[in-house]
Subunit: 256 residues, 2 copies
């Protein structure tokens, strides 16, 4: 049985709020009652308190969604900062393992946005990618977000950055199939000659991909340590971060 923490009511209300936030779809009153197992009257009263506190709102059909405080948070630039703080321990662990540059990127406004970085521990290979505008199809993170539908596929002519850049659509599509098969993506001299990156997805509770974490460095060094080995290591490391976002391995991990 749960230890006494002096905050049972708060924990119950928080559990309700967690179910609502983690849900991809609006939650009905009775589904919340069934899942949490509290009395209807208790559930009703806790939800009313959450509603008054702007933590949930009821849509037109009466189902529950995250409320104004969540929208306020999401609307501010600091939301990205909080996400990168959440990811920071994972990124620093990857930095220790790989000794290379670790980068966190998210889809924003239909584009790839790099929001945080842990720098390489080598003297060579220290490019700061945060805030830098790059063609997503040439990057490992971009391929991850495309492969799992977190970014709309690019339209128009694909930009060529190097002789290795995937400017042919069929070539890119094939690469995305490979990403989905392996669970990670690679970019070999495609953004910049001599630069290789490997990236894997960060998933939310329903398996949808919300971010990508990449490890990048000079092609020679990354090759020497093994691209497949690195890809699998990133996937393994991101399990913890995805779990913080409510993701449980074994759940559907397909096209979001």
């Amino acid at each position: 049985m749960a230890a006494q923490t002096g905050s049972q009511a708060v924990e119950r209300a928080s559990a309700l709020l967690g179910l609502i936030v983690e849900s991809g779809a609006p939650r009905t009153f009775s589904s919340l009652v069934d899942e949490l197992g509290l009395a209807k009257s208790t559930t009703s009263r806790l939800l009313q308190a959450l509603e008054r506190s702007r933590l949930v709102y009821r849509d037109r059909a009466g189902a529950f969604r995250p409320g104004a405080l969540f929208s306020l948070h999401a609307a501010r630039p600091s939301a990205l900062h909080d996400l990168s703080e959440l990811a920071r321990p994972t990124m620093e662990h990857l930095s220790v393992l790989s000794r290379e540059t670790v980068n966190l990127a998210v889809p924003r406004g239909g584009q790839l946005v790099s929001i945080d970085q842990v720098d390489s521990r080598y003297l060579v290979g220290a490019t700061n990618w945060v805030g830098v505008d790059v063609p997503a199809h040439c990057t490992a993170s971009g391929k991850v977000l495309y492969a799992y539908g977190a970014l709309p596929l690019p339209t128009g002519q694909l930009e060529r950055r190097t002789a290795h850049s995937p400017v042919d659509r069929a070539q890119l599509e094939h690469a995305l199939v490979e990403v989905r098969r392996r669970g990670w993506a690679a970019s070999l001299d495609e953004l910049e000659l001599g630069l290789t990156a490997v990236a894997a997805p960060v998933r939310a509770v329903d398996g949808s991909v919300v971010a990508a974490v990449s490890v990048s460095g000079p092609t020679s060094r990354i090759n020497d340590n093994g691209i497949t080995k690195l890809g699998d290591a990133i996937v393994a490391e991101l399990r913890g971060l995805s779990a913080l976002l409510g993701h449980q391995p074994g759940r559907k991990e397909g096209f979001a």
Copy 2:
């Protein structure tokens, strides 16, 4: 005194969470104790419950920030949907008042993103702008977001859409000064000949601008009803929406 709601503990914890989410900066333990006036021990216990529930996290200095559930929500496409649901009543009221097209736009990835629209009640003037890529400096909403620092100013050459488009930087800068003076922005035949829009800012708790709401229609009709009158009406209508995001009129409303 407050009526008995049977959820005092939840309301207290929610009030703490609200202070943390509304704060632009991390909140210290003692500032929360001072502001809410609860006993230190009660405050400590409630914050611990919120932390266990992933609703807050403590940064390296031990100060409190919105937790993983907020980051999860912000990272998902549905966050924009929830923001537009929050704005919907205001937008529909503006639609009734103006009988024109009402649009909600946010800054995302350094760009202007239109996320919701209430259509004109006239037969003429029904363009759907949601998801359409437009040069922000030619739009009323874009000018609002630039004027208040919610969007980085455009770099490079300013695109010309019509003979009225502000392609000269000094011209644009002057327009932004005017936006800040009046509290709303206008775009007269600048995006499209015959199209005029007026927009005003949606503000968060600290006065920072997080979105813009515009009313647009044929230039002749908008002119007939008066641009200044429309601008002032939008500003007045958005007070309620900004209040939902914790904004209180009279607080600093300057450059965010």
